[in-house]
């Protein structure tokens, strides 16, 4: 965490909203409710109390505005995207603590990520500034400068250890129950914003991404998708997770039959950009997020009837598609639309690869990655020989998870196929 160097000398702060978002579907009451929850996140851990006031009658410590472009401070907004909000550190100046949101953003709550900017998540971040925290580089901190998507139910949200330490450095620890407001609020006590029941939301609890053991992993248009059961996570090209919480499979992949509760392999077809999701002996073709046609049998890709796949990937070095099952793999020629003869072959030709990988994908830089359990193996661009020092745990590198090599719950990496070693043999030129 980073401290700005200024702090409120009082423990009871006032806040109020002077202007509301103009184009948002959020009602004024919902905006106030979300902001109240965002302040409570900090208050419950510090003993600070926050009281809403009418801004027309009283100038609050934290004055909140939704404004556009240049708005009489040093941080003009820039329309949709780019900068989202800012807040001023504590102090004696009238602007201290004030918090400004860009009114040209689409402020949302409880919708899919990518369909707007989650007001609660941004508000928690900005109120951190209003209380004296600077930007943090800690991966789990809400004070990271970049927007990382919704953070879930405001009533259940808790600060990360990094944020908590920063806050307690400024205001000390709480030794009693959080302070409750004694004055009557301007409006009925806010309730958590309601969400309509969603039949596409998986009924099973979301798994822990740090455990690994994914069903499928694929690079889809530069982002890496990690599938597990009826959930998936997305890793942006920058290496940051779109959200630490998984998205529901059927909420995103429109048209995927509800009985498909897991994706065993996935890849983006290089020729036409279609995305193929595999489950059992079938695969489904998607054009962007929409299903494009009926399920197809794996036999279309050259596999024997009844066969399923562990992993599928397209190798840029030759444009061919590789389909792996256990210790064998097949190769499919996308251009000729037929399976290459002479397959299946033994996976040991990929020197150092684990048998029956969870999945294989190619990164934006062209390296090939095999995943199995909680580990990954890297093959340099164009090479079929694993790099030295692999496998490595995938959590810290890919999924914003702590390194836990000493954790007994983390399974040991499976044994890889034998590496080449010095041998007393001859290699004929035609072999």
């Amino acid at each position: 965490y980073a401290l700005s160097g200024s702090v409120w000398r009082k423990r009871s702060l006032t806040w109020g909203v002077r202007s509301f978002p103009q184009g948002s579907q959020l009602s004024h009451d919902k905006v106030r409710t979300l902001l109240n929850y965002a302040l409570a996140v900090w208050g419950s851990e510090s003993g600070l109390s926050f009281h809403e006031v009418d801004t027309q009658r009283q100038e609050p410590d934290i004055l909140i505005d939704f404004v556009r472009a240049y708005h009489q401070d040093s941080y003009p907004f820039d329309g949709l995207g780019g900068t989202l909000a800012h807040a001023f550190f504590p102090g004696e100046h009238p602007i201290s603590g004030d918090t400004h949101f860009d009114d040209e953003e689409t402020w949302t709550y409880g919708v899919k990520d990518g369909e707007g900017t989650d007001l609660f998540a941004v508000a928690v971040h900005e109120f951190g500034h209003a209380l004296g925290l600077g930007h943090s580089s800690a991966p789990s901190s809400i004070m990271r400068p970049f927007y990382q998507g919704p953070v879930g139910d405001p009533a259940k949200y808790r600060l990360s250890p990094d944020d908590l330490e920063g806050l307690q450095q400024l205001y000390g620890r709480v030794h009693q129950t959080p302070h409750r407001p004694t004055r009557r609020p301007l409006a009925p006590p806010p309730q958590p914003p309601t969400q309509l029941p969603d039949r596409n939301r998986p009924s099973v609890p979301a798994p822990d991404r740090c455990e690994g053991n994914f069903d499928a992993i694929a690079n889809i248009r530069g982002e890496t998708f990690f599938f597990k059961g009826p959930w998936f996570w997305r890793l942006q090209p920058s290496g940051q997770l779109v959200s630490p919480r998984p998205a529901g499979l059927h909420r995103f992949w429109e048209g995927l039959p509800v009985q498909v509760q897991m994706v065993q392999a996935a890849y983006a077809r290089p020729g036409d950009g279609r995305i193929l999701l595999f489950s059992g002996p079938q695969f489904w073709v998607f054009r962007d997020r929409q299903l494009d046609g009926p399920p197809r049998p794996l036999t279309e890709l050259g596999l024997p009837p009844g066969e399923v796949v562990d992993a599928v990937f397209s190798w840029p070095s030759n444009g061919k598609t590789y389909l792996i099952r256990g210790q064998r793999y097949w190769r499919f020629d996308e251009a000729a639309r037929r399976a290459d003869p002479g397959y299946p072959r033994d996976l040991s030709l990929w020197e150092g690869a684990p048998p029956a990988p969870d999945d294989v994908t190619v990164s934006n830089t062209g390296d090939t990655y095999f995943f199995k359990g909680a580990h990954y193996w890297r093959f340099p661009k164009g090479s079929v020989k694993v790099e030295p020092d692999f496998p490595q745990p995938m959590g810290p590198q890919w999924l914003d998870c702590p390194a836990s090599t000493s954790d007994p719950h983390v399974p040991k990496p499976p044994q890889a196929t034998p590496r080449s070693r010095a041998c007393d043999c001859k290699c004929e030129i035609n072999r």
Partner: protein, 87 residues
């Protein structure tokens, strides 16, 4: 990966200055940013964002710079918060 067009360099300098990785320009000196200083600033930015410290405008770095974010600087003290000493 090395920004070569003047416009790209200008955008890079603007971003790094706005978020505190480069000091604001001093009008009295009209100094140009040296490539070495730019690389160093870029490395600090990459370390802060949890990216590999290449000092180059690689795709991950460009992606991070394009992400929606808070307007406040990441490195306090460099972006206009430093008090100048009077001579």
């Amino acid at each position: 990966l090395e920004p070569t067009r003047a416009q790209d360099v200008s955008l890079l300098v603007d971003w790094l200055t706005r978020y505190g990785y480069l000091p604001p320009p001093d009008p009295a000196q009209a100094q140009l940013q040296s490539p070495a200083k730019l690389r160093d600033a870029l490395k600090v930015m990459q370390r802060f964002a949890g990216l590999p410290e290449t000092g180059l405008m690689d795709s991950q770095t460009v992606g991070a710079m394009r992400k929606p974010r808070c307007s406040l600087p990441d490195v306090l003290g460099a972006a206009g918060l430093v008090r100048r000493r009077r001579r």
